[in-house]
């Protein structure tokens, strides 16, 4: 019966959320904005490249002086340039509009600027002068070096692969750090995206006065667990919806969008940190969910629930401010406090797990602590829902709910009240 009811609650909660227009408007708003930005980026990328090519290979009638000795007459004339010995005359001609441009290459192009003078052709077309001056220098440098390899090196176009060792074994380096940190990303996404819905999940029963019907039909634990699972499923739908445009954009329009290529072969999935990361994610999710649902059961309105959410968000982000310390000095007192304080523990421990500074014992302690506090929070949430949601428009006194719960001699009249 409990499993049947759990499935019923999950189905009801999930379907009624995803069939709402508002849900899809909110969910699709982010990928739509993202797609619009990508589209603009795509269009402007194409436009910029076309402009740059046009400018680079543009023919400009210009004169130049060269104190560096790098520029050859042949090289310059290929771009439409002729050498002059009198820069001042050339500048005057440009000013008078009888000469399109004049470039003054300095003695040392590495430390001194190349001076460009040109007739105004508009803010975008004026870029042609700089592009031509730069192209002349690059062409001149290539001729001097006369080695594509050296040119690539000077431009930093080299690929480096590295291998490090830990305990005599090849360690994964950054490729080993990234996968466990994905759990941290999922944790942040799930809490930030679902937090408000968790807070308001039981408020609906309260605001709609459905609580009594529910409490006589269904175990409140089943209701709350069902709601949490349904919320998680809703979160997955949202994540997939958010991720789709990114994946599509990456797979089909990577070149056009100037996206860097991602080589997943460098990622190393080490079982230990991955299992610990997953357990930390689960424990942290249970703790935050239980706490948010408990807050929702206490407060009478969504507005007040939002106020109570703020301290949790602060604790969620607090370890991020200490991230450099967490990475460089995991034994620092503040890192230790963050590691074991329940509401900062998930993020801190996941960071330390990713960077390899959380040993097995510490992992076990934090995971156990998160699950214990998480289950306590869930039990508290069920208790507060049971008693708090009957308060309807009033804020609940937690002390009173426990006072009310105390029982004295339950058998005293049990055989009489039949």
């Amino acid at each position: 019966m409990a499993a049947h009811n759990l499935n019923t609650v999950i189905g009801f909660e999930f379907i009624r959320t995803v069939k709402k227009k508002r849900f899809w408007i909110t969910t699709l708003a982010i990928p739509v904005v993202f797609a619009v930005v990508l589209g603009l980026s795509f269009i402007s990328g194409q436009s910029s490249r076309a402009t740059a090519d046009t400018q680079k290979y543009a023919q400009v009638t210009f004169q130049y002086t060269d104190a560096s000795g790098l520029v050859t007459d042949a090289g310059a004339s290929a771009f439409g340039g002729t050498r002059t010995n009198d820069g001042a005359v050339a500048i005057a001609a440009v000013r008078a509009g009888t000469l399109a441009a004049y470039f003054a290459f300095p003695a040392n192009v590495a430390t001194q600027p190349v001076r460009v003078y040109g007739t105004d052709k508009g803010i975008f077309a004026n870029g042609t002068y700089e592009a031509v001056a730069r192209a002349i220098l690059v062409s001149a440098a290539r001729q001097k070096v006369s080695s594509p390899q050296l040119m690539a090196v000077t431009q930093g176009n080299v690929t480096i692969t590295s291998q490090t060792f830990k305990g005599g074994q090849i360690s994964g380096g950054i490729g080993e750090v990234i996968p466990p940190l994905l759990f941290l990303a999922i944790f942040y996404l799930s809490i930030l995206m679902l937090g408000n819905q968790m807070l308001s999940s039981t408020l609906e029963e309260k605001e709609n006065r459905v609580t009594e019907m529910i409490l006589t039909t269904l175990n409140p634990t089943t209701l709350i667990i069902g709601k949490i699972i349904a919320l998680f499923m809703v979160g997955l739908v949202q994540m997939v919806t958010f991720a789709l445009p990114v994946i599509i954009g990456y797979l089909f329009f990577r070149a056009n969008l100037n996206l860097p290529s991602v080589d997943l072969s460098h990622l190393s999935l080490v079982p230990g940190p991955m299992i610990i990361g997953a357990l930390l994610l689960m424990g942290g999710f249970i703790l935050f969910t239980g706490t948010l649902v408990a807050i929702g059961a206490v407060v009478p309105t969504v507005k007040e629930a939002g106020t109570a959410f703020a301290p949790l968000v602060i604790m969620l982000f607090l370890p991020v401010y200490a991230v450099s310390l967490i990475v460089s000095d995991p034994n620092a007192l503040i890192v230790q406090v963050f590691t074991y304080f329940p509401f900062t523990a998930p993020v801190t421990a996941m960071l330390r797990n990713g960077f390899g500074s959380l040993n097995d014992l510490q992992s076990a302690i934090v995971i156990t602590e998160l699950f214990i506090f998480g289950l306590i929070a869930l039990r508290l949430a069920v208790h507060l829902f049971r008693y708090g949601s009957l308060e309807y428009s009033k804020k609940l006194s937690i002390t009173n709910t426990f006072r009310r719960r105390k029982r004295a001699e339950p058998a005293a009249v049990s055989d009489r009240a039949s």
């Binding site: 009594e212 004295a408 058998a411 009249v413 009240a417 039949s418």
Partner: protein
């Protein structure tokens, strides 16, 4: 049943027989709803339990219970049919059966065309009908109704009472909280009257009427009405009087006594004190301002 330091229900015990309709009466704040909530496990009672058929009752063990709470409420953003089917499934019905019963109920209460309408688009009375439908969808063995006709017009109140009677005929045991004494007199077999968390009266309606006033004799007459050891005159108007028989006196003895005294009796009927009068008698005192 305590709330903090305050005891709101004092050592209350009562039996409800299988198949009967039991009235739970009392003024506002007398503890009726609190008692029901404690019985159903919504409130944790300080002590005591509810037994059904000799077994301690667990509200969520799949028992066929129907509860219409005083605080009405449904999922307002969902369609009428979705809400009814949801609760039907939670009460152990299959989806198809829940949908079939929901449509049948909506048909009966003239809401068939509202099946796909959102609950918050219905009027208050229509929402109450839907809520009653949710309550009886699983043909409950025990039906607990807290102010079932509250907010209904007379036509719909009659319809609602018919539905409750149908449930009773189908074998349901009904516990009903109400302030409508006509409903009690029409539907209830036995009643309990609560005052400040204490049972003030408990039994059949006749038992309660006997306890608070019993039988009244209405006499239409000519000539003066003599004093007698058989009755007390409680109301007297021109050619009309109400007499309360003294303990052990039969109504026939009073008639004989009147005729013997030469009173011209034109009308002689016996009636019980109405529950409404008894209600006012019990609860009216506590509502009177101090000093009156």
């Amino acid at each position: 049943m305590d709330f903090g330091d305050q005891t709101v229900i004092h050592d209350l015990s009562f039996d409800v027989h299988a198949g009967e309709t039991f009235g739970f009466l009392g003024s506002n704040g007398s503890g009726k709803t609190t008692t029901l909530r404690a019985l159903l496990g919504i409130y944790q009672p300080t002590s005591g339990t509810m037994h059904i058929g000799g077994r301690a009752f667990e509200p969520r063990d799949g028992a066929r219970l129907g509860y219409l709470p005083e605080e009405r409420g449904l999922y307002k953003k969902e369609s009428v049919l979705d809400v009814m089917v949801y609760f039907g499934i939670l009460k152990g019905l299959s989806r198809q059966e829940a949908a079939k019963r929901s449509r049948a109920f909506l048909e009966r209460v003239s809401l068939a065309d509202k099946a796909t309408v959102r609950v918050d688009k219905l009027s208050g009375g229509q929402q109450q009908k839907v809520q009653l439908g949710v309550t009886i969808l699983n043909d409950p063995e025990l039906l607990i109704l807290d102010e079932p006709t509250q907010g209904f017009d007379p036509v719909n109140r009659r319809l609602l009472m018919d539905i409750i009677e149908d449930q009773k005929r189908a074998g349901a045991t009904v516990i009903m909280v109400t302030h409508q004494m006509e409903e009690v007199e029409r539907l209830c077999d036995r009643v309990i009257l609560l005052k400040d968390g204490v049972a003030e009266a408990y039994g059949t309606i006749e038992d309660v009427q006997d306890l608070y006033g019993g039988t009244i004799v209405e006499v239409h007459h000519s000539g003066p009405l003599p004093a007698s050891t058989l009755y007390d005159i409680t109301v007297t108007r021109r050619d009309y009087a109400e007499l309360r028989p003294r303990a052990g006196t039969d109504e026939a003895d009073i008639l004989r006594d009147l005729v013997r005294a030469g009173v011209m009796v034109r009308g002689f009927t016996t009636a019980r004190t109405s529950l409404e009068e008894i209600f006012i008698k019990i609860y009216g005192e506590q509502n009177e301002p101090a000093g009156v």
